[in-house]
């Protein structure tokens, strides 16, 4: 098989064995992207020059048998939310058009240090606000399985690029489901680590207490390798954890027999597409066959998660996005007269509708006289949502399992004019961010129409290793056929 089509974990082994050369893999990736990305629109921009130089340097290290890490020479794409020195970084927004950060995000630096080949910046919903990538100021990304459908969001470009085999691995961010939901909708693996596991330094902020960086790959092993490379304490992010980072890959194949899987009834209720439920139940059965105990549980406060999320996330966003005022960087609208006029015109022209909606919501939630009723109350509910999970874990549950998204990929335009329907995409993923827990989406099957379905596993804080093992067990037991998206089969 063409090594550039291999899942990241397998590609890493092929590189180790000298069966593939980084430069050759990169060229395959670039040429596939050149051929097909006109249809998908996963990338906002490619950094071919830098990528080729990095791949050549990796060729030499590999030839000397001195790779820096299992990622040495592996092409990786970055959501356009990660600052990369000298490379335009827009966060999918008009307001940052032409902005070239003078520094690398910590995860970008770590990937470089691991020898990964950074290929380009990927499309996303503006400031990571959205579930379909339709909120990008630069046009939507399409799902490689059906170009009329969305790859999900906000990390839609990161998900689509992996599904279309443009690159074996990408990074995204997940504030309310923005890694797991698109991973489910394009049929790849995507993980949101525990809050604090990965540094947020240099990642354009949406909601600081919820944002977390995580990887996409076609396989669980690829996600494990990427996570190990990017995780760890960063003195530049004081919310990052001091806990040591385990070798996730080493324990990946360990049996999962004896682990207990909790199935929360609140995550299998009204609004869930029966085809999705059926597929996820197949996944649960597969884990049971692997020796897991399945236990019915209740997370009674999770149904309040969406309401809670849209207060906490918007409040933080209203503050985080205040810096885009046209004074120091990014776009400034032509304004006459007052400072206020400059601010208003710049922000009116620079932000899209959804971003404006959330800034307004968040500003309102923090306003004098409303703070207690909205923001403070939301924080209290947030604590209750976390407590539900803590109680389940204390009762012996090692991981909670649920659908990732209530439905498979939907059509572009289907929900874009109905914000509330769009927000329900994240009904199963948002509680995990509010609780700060790790979550992973792993493929569990396909709909009759051939659209991918994802299953979510939620773990104890900093138990990414257990989640990866369970996800790997499901991957192994389900042994889904390695189908290629239609887009690739036709070419």
């Amino acid at each position: 098989m063409n090594p550039s089509l291999l899942p990241l974990g397998d590609l890493s082994r092929a590189l180790d064995r000298g069966e593939a050369r980084p430069s050759a893999v990169l060229e395959e990736c670039l040429s596939r992207t050149a051929r097909l990305d006109g249809k998908v629109h996963a990338f906002l921009r490619l950094t071919e020059g830098q990528a080729r130089a990095a791949a050549r340097a990796s060729d030499e290290r590999r030839a000397r048998k001195e790779p820096l890490s299992p990622l040495d020479g592996v092409p990786v794409g970055l959501k356009d939310l990660f600052c990369q020195e000298g490379v335009e970084t827009t966060a999918g927004s008009r307001i940052l058009e032409g902005y070239h950060p003078p520094y690398d995000a910590t995860v970008v630096r770590k990937l470089r240090e691991a020898g990964a080949v950074l290929v380009g910046k990927l499309n996303m919903d503006e400031f990571a606000m959205g579930s379909s990538t339709e909120n990008s100021a630069y046009g939507p990304t399409r799902n490689p399985w059906d170009l009329e459908r969305t790859p999900g969001g906000s990390s839609g470009g990161s998900a689509a690029a992996v599904a279309a085999r443009f690159v074996p691995g990408t990074l995204g961010t997940d504030t309310g489901g923005s890694i797991r939901q698109p991973a489910a909708l394009v049929g790849c693996v995507g993980m949101k680590p525990t809050y604090g596991r990965v540094s947020r330094y240099g990642v354009v902020a949406f909601a600081s207490s919820l944002d977390q960086v995580g990887p996409f790959a076609q396989d669980v092993r690829g996600v494990a390798l990427l996570l190990r490379a990017i995780a760890g304490r960063d003195p530049n992010d004081q919310t990052s954890s001091l806990r040591p980072v385990p070798d996730y890959d080493a324990d990946l194949e360990k049996p999962v027999g004896g682990l207990t899987i909790g199935v929360p009834k609140e995550y299998f209720g009204e609004g869930l597409d029966p085809a999705v439920e059926k597929s996820v139940r197949t996944g649960i059965a597969a884990l049971e066959r692997e020796g897991c105990t399945v236990k019915a549980i209740s997370l009674p406060n999770s149904p309040h998660a969406i309401a809670t999320y849209y207060l906490v996330a918007t409040a933080e966003a209203s503050s985080n996005l205040a810096r885009y005022d046209g004074i120091r960087y990014g776009q400034r609208a032509p304004a006459r007269g007052s400072l206020l006029d400059l601010y208003e015109k710049t922000r009116a022209a620079g932000f899209g509708a959804e971003v404006k909606r959330r800034i307004l919501l968040g500003t309102y939630a923090l306003s004098a006289g409303y703070y207690d009723a909205y923001y403070l109350r939301a924080q209290k509910v947030r604590a209750l949502i976390r407590r539900d999970f803590d109680q389940a874990f204390a009762a012996g549950v090692d991981a909670v399992v649920s659908p990732t998204s209530p439905w498979a990929a939907f059509r572009l335009g289907e929900k874009v004019d109905d914000p509330l329907a769009m927000y329900l995409n994240d009904i199963y993923t948002v509680p995990v961010n509010l609780a700060g827990l790790p979550g992973i989406s792993v493929p569990s099957g396909f709909t009759q129409a051939g659209l991918p379905i994802g299953m979510q596993l939620i773990g104890r804080p900093f138990e990414e290793g257990t989640l990866l093992r369970l996800a790997r067990a499901a991957e192994r037991a389900l042994a889904l056929p390695r189908r290629l998206p239609l887009l690739l089969e036709r070419t």
Partner: protein, 449 residues
Amino acid sequence: MSIHDWEPVIGLEVHAQLLTRSKIFCSCSTAFGAPPNSLVCPVCLGLPGALPALNRSAVEMAIKAGKAFGSAIAERSIWARKNYFYPDLPKGYQISQYELPICKGGAVPVPQPDGSVRKVPLTRIHLEEDAGKNVHGAAGSQVDLNRSGVPLVEIVGEPELRSAEEASEYLKALRLSLMYLGINDGNLEEGSFRCDANVSVRRKGTQKFGTRVELKNINSFRFVRQAIEHEIERQIAAYERGEKVVQETRLFDNEKGETRPMRTKEEANDYRYFPEPDLPPLVVSREWVAKVQVPRLVELHARIVEAAGPEAARRAANVVTGEVARLVNEGALDLSSPRFQPAQIAEVFRLQDAGTLSSTAAKDVLAEVLRTGKPPAQIVQEKGLSQVSDESALEAVVDAVIARSSAEVEKYKSGKKNLLGFFVGQAMKDLKGKGNPGVLNTLFKKRLE
């Protein structure tokens, strides 16, 4: 009704820059006067994706202030975002503390004219970052962000001051205290010590506060008095005319010596404070608080003044910020268990005033007192530092000098009056430096004219 029927109520908020080497949330230098925007990085520029990383020496200085003023130091305090738009505020919010500040309560000791010390209570002290500076010129408005992220303590005093004079004395005492602590340079002109005043007036004998007006832009002690005095008069005049005082922020115009409206309550910002999600709660352990050394200079100053009298306040301050601070910083002096008594320093002042000690000798004695705690008189005796001021004792020396310097005496008498220094110098040489130069001067003049 007259002006005497009204009682002013004044509370001061002081912003003091902390003397850390680097900024509060990044490693940029805090130096003053560097070329615009040369001391900046992604963090203090508020670039997308940048995050704050706390400088613990700023926290340590706030602990120092809290300990010095007897505040309660919180084991856990919370960073908060204060949101507002302004070009000198690059993130669109200032990282500050709101509901749970690092220090609560305490009091600033303010020396009184009668030599006693008044304790003016504090509401709180909290940590925050400074904003940059807008520079308005012919080329338009420009922003210098060198100051962005410089650590500040905001020291909020209780509304316990009753006159512009009291406010000014409080500020002077507070400024000196912070300088003694080595946490602020006390420079009002460069803006490293800034003051806002909340002023209201009420009918004498009533308890209820009047409507409060906040005064900004007061950057000298003279202006503090002027601004507050003007504001008190303005408010009393308004009430006496039967008008209301509007709750507002007013700017002091130091050229006109008056205040003018900046914004009313309705125009006031809703700062939308909320806990800063990028920083964990600030945890200050009991051990940390115990370890922070507070040079007890404020107290020492007060006790020297107590012993030496209020007119020695400035002199005491010079000793405390000079020799004492130097020895403390060198580790040669531990003020928690000093060997000397503050009264001994007052005694050195007296010996100098009486002419027994020259200013040089006084310095030597002072250093010895601070190190050993020996009585000054004993040191003077042991070192033979006593200055000869007795005219009868000096006359013999004056005669001897005149006798052996006939050429110089001729020249002096023919008009070279600046030779007086030569004669005094000769006499001092004979006296091994212990002669009182003033007395010698007079004696030579009398003898030669």
